[in-house]
Amino acid sequence: MADVVMDRPLPLDPPLVEGNPTYSQITDDVAGIVERKPPREWYAAISVTGLLTLALGISIAWLLYKGVGIWGNNQPVAWAWPITDFVFWIGIGHAGTLISAILYLFRQRWRTSINRAAEAMTIFAVMTAGLFPLFHTGRPWRAYWLFPIPNLDLSLWQNFRSPLMWDVFAVSTYATVSILFWYVGMIPDLGTLRDRAAGLRQKIYGFFALGWRGSAWHWNHYEKAYLILAGLSTPLVLSVHSIVSLDFAVSIVPGWHTTIFPPYFVAGAIFSGFAMVITLMVLARKAYRLEHLITINHLENMNKILLATGSIVGYSYAVEFFTAAFSGNPYEQFVFMNRVVGPYAWAVWTMFFCNVFAPQLFWFRKVRRSIPAMFVVSIIVNVGMWFERFNIIVTSLHRDYLPSSWGMFTPTVFDFLTFFGSLGFFLTMFLLFLRFLPAIALSEVKAVIPAPQPEKEGE
């Protein structure tokens, strides 16, 4: 057995960063993205996503003028696409905090290359998600009624027993802590950008860098703040989507009311979030030539998480179907039979295919390490996770206890415009992030590469 020298990383694991770059090369590679003119692909992309955002603006303006009736929501499907979209986006917003907080506590050092961009996605996804309940209230100018603010005529007191209220607190707490965590983590890198910039740019980056000088005291405080925020974020990763699941599960609607919903929703959220991170990172690392920082090993690890969370989601589907059959409860049994053979069977089979079967390809190392394959699978998973929420919401509602009130849901053009518009908004925000902020956590990546050694010494 070889002697043990612990101050060097063991050769058991592949290097986290490829090509053995120096510190200054890493700085140039990452800071260069915001300093140079963006590539043509960036302009092409933001033109498309900007147009979609415009579509979102138009459909919201029309909604404010006409009312919620422009959507397809109607009895018996009173919660339809907007809530589907809300849960979809909140779910996407789970990968960032998982990568940043939970993988940090697990000492997974490979997270450093992807955590910044993933956290940015979290924040933009939560922002996008927030639009839906806001406008779904129908009177967004009264949205502050969601908060327990004493109102003058005392005609309104919020129902604290309603999970919809808990949702307001959960999502806004999550958004606040995620933004803080993301921002605190970015301070050293903003300092780097400030030092390399001049003029107005320097002033702006300097303002947000909060006077960062990189002294030992600064680092000491920074590390402490980061650890505390990671600890605070960890329960939030679980709580937010658990509470979103309670919106459904506290009811007595068969297909909604089931005890596995909280952990099942959390697993699904992490699953969809990682899928979105893979979709966007595959594109970004190529466009900005960051393949040596976000290596194939990073992508492979994320694919493994997709496989694991996809299997948990599959487990939850299986347990739900089993328990419905086992329960002997005719309503439960009907809802689940209706899912697989009823008028929306196409949606549930799409969901099974996308969420359970497609990620199983990642059992094969070749597939896990193939960029085209993971890109396709990640998009399939995104589609599948939208359908999961569609199935939970629309399919459970469209045939309830009273057959005379059964009906189908028909989306309107505004349902489409709002959803694809929200996708445009999310992507626009992400493109702006790539343009103006350090997309990779510079200081953290530098901490996981081998420290510079004096050349030839000790050989």
């Binding site: 057995m1 058991l12 679980l238 005890t259 487990y315 939850s316 059959a325 002997g328 409860n329």
Partner: protein, 402 residues
């Protein structure tokens, strides 16, 4: 460096005399436990089966936790846990023995489970029960039980053998086998554990159902497993073993896991309670109603305090996790409360009106624990107590929490 490694290696083996002593104690415990339980079985078969099931599940859930945890260490190529992994593996390898301990449960099925009475499910008048009637039909039930023990034993043996095979030096093949079997192993383990929880615990009330139930039982087992590993490591330390191998850093990490799994258990338990309480459907609330009747309410309250609040506060601070006395005490408490949790899950179906501890609870604990202990302790004889040849052992020895 070579010599110190050599010395380390020798310290990985247990003294034969000490091993014999403990073995004799365990043997005595098993013999006394079985003799007393056999008397109890003859005198009061009904109560015997209930108590026996609680204690059988106690050790079985710990074995599940072991198999799950060991497999996850290989999937994630964890380094910190290598020095404690052999103790974990020795817990895991008790799973094949659990098949023998299942025999009294199997004999007790007609006594314990209402559904075992012929024609219990009236499918003529209630066709919705067809699936359940089929599910509990003898051939399917037997097939499931055989599958469970086969799957658990096979997984335990594969993970154990390939780890032990490396004790004389790293083996690429063994490492590959471990990684190859671990991921599918966790999948089938989770599936079988879920079904077994339904078969052996949930179906004590044949009409009650909860989709989260399998995860609830699994989580409690995983927590108790870490607590047991912590206690065993501390006992070895007290006897002068592995002091330089399982360091304060490893105890700190075991403490983190106990803390995390305490919170996780509470999260799962709360999810189940909140959703059933809120929806207030009689077919679901019946489970909690039984557990709030008579003195059962006190046990329910004890679980809230003892299974969550106490270990949560005890393990919250970094200093507590690095204080071996606090850690050991909490680990012991977690094992007690895990037993109480199973008591709470199982025994309201046996003596529904009042919670009480009876002497059969103690004797069946000694009986099952004695057999479990012997199966566990057997693996310490002339075998390394640490995966001595694991490639990540040096990394694990040098592990420190920043």
């Amino acid at each position: 460096m070579e010599t110190s490694l050599q010395q380390n290696r020798e310290s990985y083996y247990l003294d034969e005399a000490l091993w014999n002593k403990i073995r004799n104690v365990l043997l005595l415990v098993a013999v006394v436990g079985w003799a007393a339980s056999a008397y109890g079985w003859a005198a009061d078969g009904y109560n015997f089966y209930g108590s026996y099931l609680v204690n059988f599940m106690f050790w079985l859930t710990i074995g599940w936790g072991a198999a799950f945890f060991v497999a996850v260490q290989h999937i994630t190529t964890a380094a910190w846990s290598v020095t404690v992994r052999r103790i974990m593996e020795n817990v895991m390898i008790t799973l094949p023995v659990m098949a023998f301990l299942f025999i009294p449960v199997a004999v007790g099925i007609p006594t314990l489970y209402e559904w075992a009475q012929p024609g219990y499910f009236d499918i003529e008048h209630n066709p919705n029960l067809q699936f359940k009637a089929l599910f509990f039909s003898a051939p399917l039930y037997v097939a499931r039980v055989v599958t469970y023990f086969f799957v658990w034993s096979a997984l335990a043996v594969v993970l154990y053998q390939n780890s032990v095979a490396q004790d004389q030096g790293p083996s690429e093949e063994a490492r590959r086998n471990l990684r190859w079997w671990s991921a599918p192993g966790v999948l089938v383990l989770t599936a079988t554990v879920t079904m077994a929880s339904v078969d052996w615990i949930m179906s004590l009330d044949p009409h009650w159902y909860s989709t989260i139930f399998g995860i609830y039982v699994f989580s409690g087992g995983a927590l108790a497993f870490i607590a047991l590993v912590t206690l065993v490591a501390l006992a070895l330390r007290k006897a002068g073993y592995l002091r330089e191998t399982i360091t304060i850093e490893h105890y700190h990490d075991l403490g983190k896991w106990m803390f995390a799994l305490t919170v996780w258990w509470a999260y799962i338990a709360f999810s189940q309670y909140l959703l059933i309480w809120y929806a207030d459907l009689p077919e679901e609330t019946v489970f909690f109603k039984h557990r709030m009747e008579g003195t059962w309410i006190y046990l329910s309250a004890l679980l809230l305090v003892g299974h969550f609040i106490v270990p949560f506060l005890a393990l919250l601070s970094r200093a507590a996790k690095r204080n071996l006395a606090v850690l050991g005490l909490t680990a012991f408490w977690i094992l007690v409360i895990h037993g109480m949790d199973l008591h709470w899950l199982i025994l309201p179906s046996v003596h529904p009106h009042n919670f009480h501890i009876q002497w059969l609870d103690v004797t069946t604990f000694l009986a099952t624990g004695g057999v479990f202990g012997l199966a566990f302790w057997r693996r310490f004889r002339r075998r390394a107590m640490v995966p001595a040849g694991d490639v990540r052992l040096p990394e694990s020895l040098a592990h420190h929490n920043i």
